[in-house]
């Protein structure tokens, strides 16, 4: 499956455009993400951060350009392969996307059931991930009865429970207080340490400052790579 020449780049975008009926959300984006890289995507509201992530897991098709995930060209992937592509990813959606008719436990277990794991394994795994986000007592609650931050922690738990190759985290701490946010960010860094490729879309300055890794800056759908790096590097050394 892996393309030899680019073995170290798990994600490659070549001149990717994303156009909606009324306007462009992404214009000519070319980015490579190395295996086990930690990439941060930032930019103002509506810049295209979420859209960029969406293209990677085929939440939407790109309008133009090529996207390679682990050597697979997304433009040419067969419909039947899409679920398997998506299992490479663990995604924290900006709006959580928890299934309202399933309990917290069921929402998280779903990811493992989908891949056909044994139920005894699923039980252990879900319990452990719920413990790490401090939500084990609420496992039988439905998402609507959780606070915003609790939902976000469940979204995190679901994203990581399958030990994915790539974690896409869209504003993963937007609803969390500083302490909870730190816990989540530390967990993400831990996964990164274990070899997971990590892409975090955020505009939280604190996270950008505190997290080691490359940052790309989107503005109005365009990549403004260099400017950000200059702006940020000193922030880290502060």
């Amino acid at each position: 499956m892996t393309d030899k020449g680019n073995e170290d780049n798990i994600i490659r975008l070549f001149h990717v455009h994303k156009r909606y009926a009324t306007h462009s959300a992404l214009v000519d984006i070319s980015v490579d993400v190395a295996r086990n890289e930690l990439l941060m995507v930032t930019g103002p509201s509506g810049a295209g951060k979420s859209t960029l992530l969406k293209l990677l897991y085929l939440g939407e098709p790109a309008s133009e350009g090529q996207i390679l995930i682990d050597g697979i060209n997304l433009a040419r992937i067969s419909r039947a392969r899409i679920p398997f592509l998506r299992r490479k990813f663990g995604i924290i959606f900006q709006d959580y996307k928890l299934i309202p008719s399933k309990t917290v436990y069921e929402n998280i277990a779903l990811v493992l059931e989908v891949s056909g794991y044994k139920s005894s394994f699923i039980q252990k795994k879900v319990a452990s991930v719920l413990r790490t986000v401090g939500m084990e007592e609420r496992q039988h609650a439905y998402p609507q009865s959780l606070s915003g931050g609790e939902q976000q922690r469940i979204a995190f738990a679901r994203a990581v429970v399958g030990d994915p190759q790539i974690i896409l985290a869209d504003e993963p701490t937007g609803s969390l207080d500083a302490d909870s946010a730190n816990i989540i960010m530390n967990l993400l860094r831990e996964y990164h340490g274990r070899g997971t490729t990590l892409i975090i879309a955020t505009h939280d300055k604190a996270i950008l400052r505190k997290t080691q890794g490359r940052t790309i800056y989107l503005n109005d759908g365009r990549l403004e790579n260099k400017i950000v790096n200059i702006e940020k590097k000193p922030a880290i050394t502060l």
Partner: protein, 297 residues
């Protein structure tokens, strides 16, 4: 392994039904109601058909023998008549018998017969027709076939009566079948539409499941099971309600109908099973249409 997965899917389907009790109750009730409609009409139609059949059984051809036929030839004539295609039975009735019956039938005008010196009536055969021959055209053809026999003077059959009955038969059969078809299709669509409305509220769930890497089979199977279960449960419920109504109606009506010659019967088991099968199919169809619409990512 495979059966384990299937069990898992059934568990998920049942759980989903229980989780969405209100919606599923409404769906099942709707399905039961439309099955009730179809099967109630089916029951009505089956019994009307029985009634018409029992009337039609009364259609017979009277063949008048000419005077020259002797007592010994009668068996020959009977054989000849029975050989004709479409004849089910032929019963000989002597002229004396015929007169007796006539007198009985015309009690009021009995005075007519008091002055008779000899019996002016001919011997006759009452010819009964086989089921397939019981329509007007066939009866006419049969009658003329019988009439060509040398021993037969003439034939008589309730031309006008049969004409009437046949016309009404055809009309009833035609419109009844048409109605059955319409009701059936309507029910299939009602069931399918109900399932579609039900699953419309699941769009989000379908989407999310796709996003976490569920294959289409994984998503669809439990919902197919759910839809099929609903079809079966709704169908059985509809039939049960019909059966209960049937029992109530029959026990109330049969007294008032003691003089009637027909017996109201319930739908035959195979038809009942067919109706439930169709209900199940409708559930499946609704599910199929829903997925066709919602899963195009």
């Amino acid at each position: 392994m495979k059966s384990g997965i299937f069990l898992f899917f059934i568990k998920r389907a049942v759980q989903d039904i229980l989780n969405n009790r209100f919606l599923n109750a409404i769906t099942i009730i709707t399905i039961a109601l439309s099955i009730l409609i179809v099967s109630a009409f089916g029951l009505f139609f089956v019994n009307i058909n029985d009634l018409l059949d029992s009337w039609r059984k009364g259609v017979r051809i009277i063949a008048y023998l000419n005077n020259k036929v002797s007592q010994t030839e009668i068996l020959d004539v009977k054989k000849k008549i029975l050989q004709i295609d479409g004849v089910a039975a032929a019963q000989f009735k002597s002229k004396d018998e015929a007169l007796k019956q006539l007198k009985e039938r015309m009690k009021r005008q009995a005075a007519i017969f008091e002055n008779l010196r000899e019996n002016p009536l001919p011997d006759i055969f009452e010819v009964q027709l086989s089921a397939t021959a019981q329509n007007w055209e066939k009866v006419e053809i049969l009658a003329s076939q019988i009439e060509t026999l040398p021993e037969i003077e003439s034939v008589e059959y309730g031309q006008q009566w049969i004409g009437r009955i046949t016309g009404i038969f055809n009309l009833l059969r035609f419109t009844g079948s048409a109605l059955c078809a319409v009701f059936f299709m309507a029910s299939v669509f009602i069931v399918a539409n109900t399932i579609r409305l039900l699953f419309f509220s699941k769009r989000e769930e379908f989407d999310i499941m796709q996003l976490v890497g569920a294959t289409e089979g994984f998503i669809k199977t439990p919902f197919y099971i759910e839809a099929i279960l609903q079809g079966i449960i709704g169908g059985i419920l509809g039939i049960i309600v019909l059966y209960i109504s049937y029992v109530v109606v029959v026990s109330n009506v049969d007294q008032g109908l003691s003089s009637a010659f027909i017996q109201i019967r319930f739908l035959p088991i195979p038809v009942t099973l067919l109706i439930i099968a169709c209900s199940t199919f409708s559930g499946w169809l609704g599910c199929y249409l829903s997925f066709k619409q919602f899963l195009n990512t």
